[in-house]
Symmetry: C2
Subunit: 357 residues, 2 copies
């Protein structure tokens, strides 16, 4: 039975890096007889240009019908001044929410070949392998009411709401524990329970879910401390589970610890492991169209897709090995280049992964 | 005319480090004829033990009457299981709010003598000198409504509210710009304006305030990117201004970049520059009572107090110089100790600063 993959190249470097990822996907498709059929559409600024909105209804329907979605990146200065309601990011937030992609997996993995790229001392980050599990469809990102208004005294004010329900917390906590079970069985739940009501419920529910995972060593940490510990001693962490906003902040911090954010993929999963896969980095408008962007994060997003949505472990492993081989060969795009390595462009990097596969 | 200083040693290592800071303060008082009178009270867990609440009304009255407040640190496992409404942190939040201490200054300064203490590469952090200006009495920390309830379907849910008014944003933005004016004239305002209504207002008001500070180079950054840039290239920042929650997270991250959080003081100021001064670090219950805690952050909090609340620049400078001299002498408490230095305890460190002064 054929599987439908919807490809959304997006904005900025999105189309360039996606072209390489699709090459890798097509090869894996043939080689491992995966039966994937690809179709293409737009999200973000490109969708604003084409449809007038960052996520068109027809695109959303295609996404619903697809078995998995591969996304490049969205946003750029071209759409910075438009009506906030149709900014590129709104398309991203809407597709996450409409498809119920609540489980966001963001690995922060340091490739031994790129140990020097980190701004941290080698001994602090060598072997770093953290997985951040971020709740992606709830919390302050989507909480209602939210409003901007003028008070009676003429002053403007605005507010957002940070809500969490037991079931929202329970399902993301389960993802956290499940991930910990297939890794090093250590889960750190991050909240701000000394201040926030929502965090107090978060902590209580995580404790309840923990009863079903007696093998997992659970700890709780306040978000300010977590931001600090990630800098001080990041290797203390295995899996971190946290809410939407804290996850946004901590996953970016954690990914930068590796110094090679151009290498990091991510997955956003629904309750049935249908998912959207995309690089951790953004659309990098400053280098778009130059053919120098690193396609590896998008290529590894393909590998995550094979692993999480299709359980194609052999194919996923093969892609990861191919990437590692290419690093061993000394090939580097500009973002991860260091003295003594061979600097190549987007396409050459993609071709090398294809060749290694 | 005499000035009243209220000293709140607090919990954990609080009393030990405060004893040293008070020695330094008393000496400065005599030497520079500052006319300070000190009185003592309790905050946090110590206040729970004495008064049954983490901030007693009479303590609050004393704090209101004082010209400045010197705080050690609050919290500890002893009070972890008590009614959340009277946990030690509630005392801290209440005193901030009741005294209107909205302007929180948190410097992240790397002492050249301690460059090795950082987990970051020396070239990334050498000379680091960032000031984080955190809004401290608004936002999600104090926003109403906040509630924990059971829905009709029997499910629990909880929510918090993140409100900001124009005047709250304006006054903290001014603090940010004023600080930038006496430093390197660069201000970065951190928000999440691509998602939050409150951040959109934040950004708009900061832009308005900017008109009064044409000399300051203003930039805006999303909080996730800021968390990343602090790791990647922290020296790009001079002053950062941000909201209560983002400031909590980013200031802890920034302070840890120095690797010597035991050296960092902070100030929380009201509209008239009356302030509460405290170390950035916590109450460190694990080492309390052992006489090994680093008193320098508290000693430097005295210096901040002299500078910001009393405009005693000479005395403030003298204390900072004394601390630097002690570092030059090779004296180190355990937290900042490295091979070849002389490891000393809390009291010896305090005595050395007194001697240098
Ligand atoms: C673009 C933005 C809305 C988005 C988010 O905050 O979730 C991005 O930062 C991310 O982390 O995927
Ligand atoms: C103890 C806690 C409530 C407090 C805060 O979050 O403000 C602390 O983390 C701080 O930064 O001073």
């Amino acid at each position: 039975m054929s599987k439908q993959i919807l490809v959304l190249p997006g904005d900025g470097i999105g189309p360039e890096i996606m072209a390489e990822a699709v090459k890798v996907l097509q090869l894996a498709n043939d080689k491992f007889e995966l039966g994937f059929e690809l179709s293409y559409d737009e999200l973000g600024g490109a969708a604003v240009d084409k449809y007038g909105v960052p996520l068109a209804d027809e695109t959303l329907e295609r996404a619903r019908a697809a078995d998995a979605i591969l996304l490049g990146a969205v946003g750029g200065p071209k759409w910075d001044k438009i009506d906030p309601a149709i900014r590129p990011e709104r398309g991203l937030l809407k597709i996450r929410s409409e498809l119920g992609l609540f489980g966001n997996l963001r690995p922060a993995l340091l490739y031994p070949q790129l140990a020097d790229a980190s701004s941290l001392k080698p001994e602090i980050v060598a072997g770093l392998d953290i997985l951040i599990v971020r709740e992606l469809t709830g919390g302050i990102y989507f909480g209602k009411p939210r409003e901007s208004k003028v008070l009676e005294n003429g002053e403007r004010m605005a507010y957002d709401t940070l809500p969490y329900s037991e079931s929202e917390i329970r399902r993301i906590a389960k993802v956290g524990f499940d991930m910990a079970m297939v890794r090093n069985k250590k889960l750190c739940s991050v909240d701000k329970a000394n201040v926030l009501a929502s965090s107090q419920l978060w902590r209580a529910v995580v404790e309840e879910v923990a009863k079903d995972y007696p093998e997992v060593e659970l700890s709780h940490m306040y978000v300010d401390n977590a931001a600090m510990q990630l800098v001080r001693a990041p290797k203390q962490f295995d899996v971190i589970v946290t809410d939407n906003m804290f996850g946004d902040i901590l996953s970016d911090e954690a990914s930068m610890l590796t110094g090679s954010i151009g290498m990091l993929p991510s997955a956003s999963l629904d309750a049935g492991n249908k998912g959207m896969y995309e690089p951790c980095h953004g659309s990098a408008p400053d280098i778009a169209g130059q053919g120098i962007a690193n396609p590896v994060a998008t290529i590894l997003s393909v590998s995550m897709m094979l692993r999480y949505s299709f359980n194609q472990v052999a194919a996923a492993d093969a892609i990861e090995r191919a990437v590692s081989d290419v690093l061993d060969q000394g090939l580097r795009t500009g973002d991860i280049w260091s003295e003594g390595c061979n600097k190549v462009g987007t396409q050459a990097m993609g071709d090398a992964v294809v060749a290694a596969l």
